[in-house]
Subunit: 400 residues, 2 copies
């Protein structure tokens, strides 16, 4: 049967990789080591944050009702009951007609419900002249107003940012449960491949895909496990795949740029499991293979690095996100298309673009060039139902 007849749409392929994604176990790490990790459990506030009524300014804590009608001409006069020291557990209490100095971040004395900024007050001996009224709650964050005890502060599945780590610290989450990094086996096949330390003879090329795939999965929070260059024969490839499957949570096999080689990759997967997809309606990247063996995904990527990279972005990214149970994160910027992009109806085209000043310029060039990978900022997607995009159209650029 012709490959062309069996290709599946990108959406369907993505649905399949999500379905075969094995869920990854969780592990506990110290919060300081949790940057970019994916939460395996909700983080809840262990206590009210803040734990007390807290001033957001330097000023005088007051009972708001005592300042009603205060103005420049007729200030409210309050008795200064003292100063609250930062971090002090004993903040006292104020009665009607009294106030107390509180620094930014300090605790209001019991009884107080607002703070007048110091700029609007004048202390004269034991008395404080208040020149502006404040509403109850003004310049105060009340206990539990930021996070209430028990509230979910960061939800399971979230990939932790620096700001998230700060918030987790605020609720005492010193150890957090995160998805263990999936181990992804990386195999490059092709008799033309040589290690990058070699100078390629005519007909030979260096093994780019091990680095490309390894760095791609590392960026997603996975651990790449390298199995190197495997000669393109069925027995050798099957053995390498079996070894990788035994040690990893999923395996990427790139290469086989020729038809015979692609068939070897599919045959190796079939020897150990099942081929679910052989050919995706995507350009570049059509000869992609999706299979499973022992309930682990085995993905065959095109041999050419530029094509492999598109498949990593479109197909492998959703697989890894599903394994870690985190939403896919694509960084998409919108831009105006700088020129027409023709396309073929029935397949999704991924066109590399450079983005400058809000304009996305397609880098057509020859399909076999690597240099477009470094010259481009990302890709635009021309949907399968479209015959192309027109210059001036608003497009979403998926940044690399």
């Amino acid at each position: 049967m012709s490959l062309f007849l069996t290709v599946v749409p990108v959406d369907e392929a993505v649905g399949i990789v999500r379905r075969i994604a094995p869920p990854i176990r969780s592990e506990e790490v110290a919060l300081a080591d949790a940057l970019h990790r994916v939460l395996a459990d909700d983080i809840r506030a262990d206590t009210d944050v803040p734990g007390f009524n807290r001033s957001t300014v330097d000023g005088y804590a007051v009972i708001a009702a005592d300042t009603v009608g205060a103005g420049e001409a007729l200030p409210s006069m309050l008795h200064c009951a003292g100063r609250v020291a930062m971090g002090s557990r004993d903040t006292g209490r104020i009665a009607p007609g009294a106030c107390a100095y509180v620094p930014t971040g300090g605790a209001l004395p019991a009884g107080a419900d607002a703070v007048v900024m110091i700029e609007h007050c004048e202390q004269v001996g034991e008395e404080v002249l208040v020149h502006r009224p404040v509403a109850p709650g003004e310049n105060v964050v009340f206990a539990g107003e930021d996070f209430a005890s028990g509230e979910v502060v960061l939800a399971k599945g979230r990939r932790l940012t620096p700001a998230d780590l700060g918030v987790a610290a605020a609720v005492g989450a010193e150890r957090v449960s995160v998805a263990a990094p999936p181990r992804i086996g990386i195999i490059s096949t092709g008799n033309e491949l040589v290690p990058i330390t070699a100078v390629p003879a005519p007909g030979e090329v260096r093994d780019v895909n091990s680095y490309l795939c390894g760095a791609f999965v590392a960026e997603q929070g996975c651990i790449p496990v390298y199995y190197g260059i495997v000669r393109d024969d069925l027995g050798t490839l099957r053995d390498a795949l079996a070894a990788a499957l035994a040690e990893c949570d999923a395996v990427l096999i790139s290469g086989g740029s020729s038809k015979d080689e692609r068939d070897n990759t599919a045959a190796a997967i079939r020897a150990l499991g099942e081929v679910l997809v052989h050919g995706i309606a995507i350009a570049p990247g059509k000869p992609t293979i999706i299979g499973t063996a022992g309930e682990k995904p085995a993905i065959g990527l095109p041999g050419h690095p530029a094509s492999a990279f598109v498949v990593l972005t479109a197909i492998v990214h959703p697989l890894l996100a599903a394994m870690m149970q985190t939403p896919e994160r694509r960084r998409i910027v919108s831009a105006r298309l700088g020129q027409n992009v023709p396309s073929t109806r029935g397949r999704e085209d991924y066109v590399r673009v450079r983005v400058e000043g809000g304009v996305a310029t397609p880098l057509f060039g020859k399909s076999g060039l690597l240099n477009t990978l470094v010259q481009s900022d990302g890709v635009i997607r021309v949907p399968a139902g479209s015959e192309g995009l027109e210059a001036g159209e608003e497009v979403g650029v998926i940044l690399w």
Copy 2:
């Protein structure tokens, strides 16, 4: 002198941190470990890429002139001189009137200058009928067309992406020279601070900023070195700062949310070096301090985490980029503003926003709240010369 009178504009503060940024030494790492590192030297192609004329399709390598006029009705008939095996060093030579089968990625025989896709050919015994003409160079990447030997492939200062690692592999850069990760000392001051493992008593808060600052600098490729919570007195703070400066390339001191505490941070820097800026026209974040001691930057950040985070983004990010000699990388998406944002002329306002469906919604709330950090996707900048932004305006959102 009032702080207000001495605040400097954000642009000027950024210029100052760039000027005081100490350049960081370089180190060599294996390419597989170089993801997100900053190149300290250009990477050049050590050889032509590809090293030979390479087919981008499965088909027949031909001399293009032999296919002139070929069509369905009147094919060119060429003699098949053989097949080129993948990786083979001996690709032979074809003479006029001859062709050879070449797989995708395979080397053209000497003499050939184009490849006809297999779909447009028909092999009959030793003869191949070519049904379409090809132009010279069609379906071929010539030797050195991707990268020429000696060409700069990736320039000094670039932060390496997965695609970059693939390209570096193609040119044999198995070890690369990158900026050593700067060591950034992190000090939190404030008598109200307790470690995150403690449950804060009234008046106390957990040390959020150590985590926020540590994760922020780690995300930029630096190594955070934690000096913990330092009590807010001049001698203790000065000693901690001296220790951090001795071991690190720069130091961030956060806290001192009250006026007295801010003065302690400035005094500690002054005791060891020089205060260059005390107050920036930015909101939130005005009480920021920029100093140097022993030619190392010492930055005083506001105590409140939400304010500290804005200063990390606006001021510390340019500092770290300058130290590593890499361009600042802000991920900015454009969006339409969902509602008016008032501002005060004369200071740069950073307003946290959530971005959904192309609309940026400002999260005003009280300034003291942490929860806006996790609810927002980034900030918008209201320039110092502006009195505010209007709903519907196109704004650039600096993503966290």
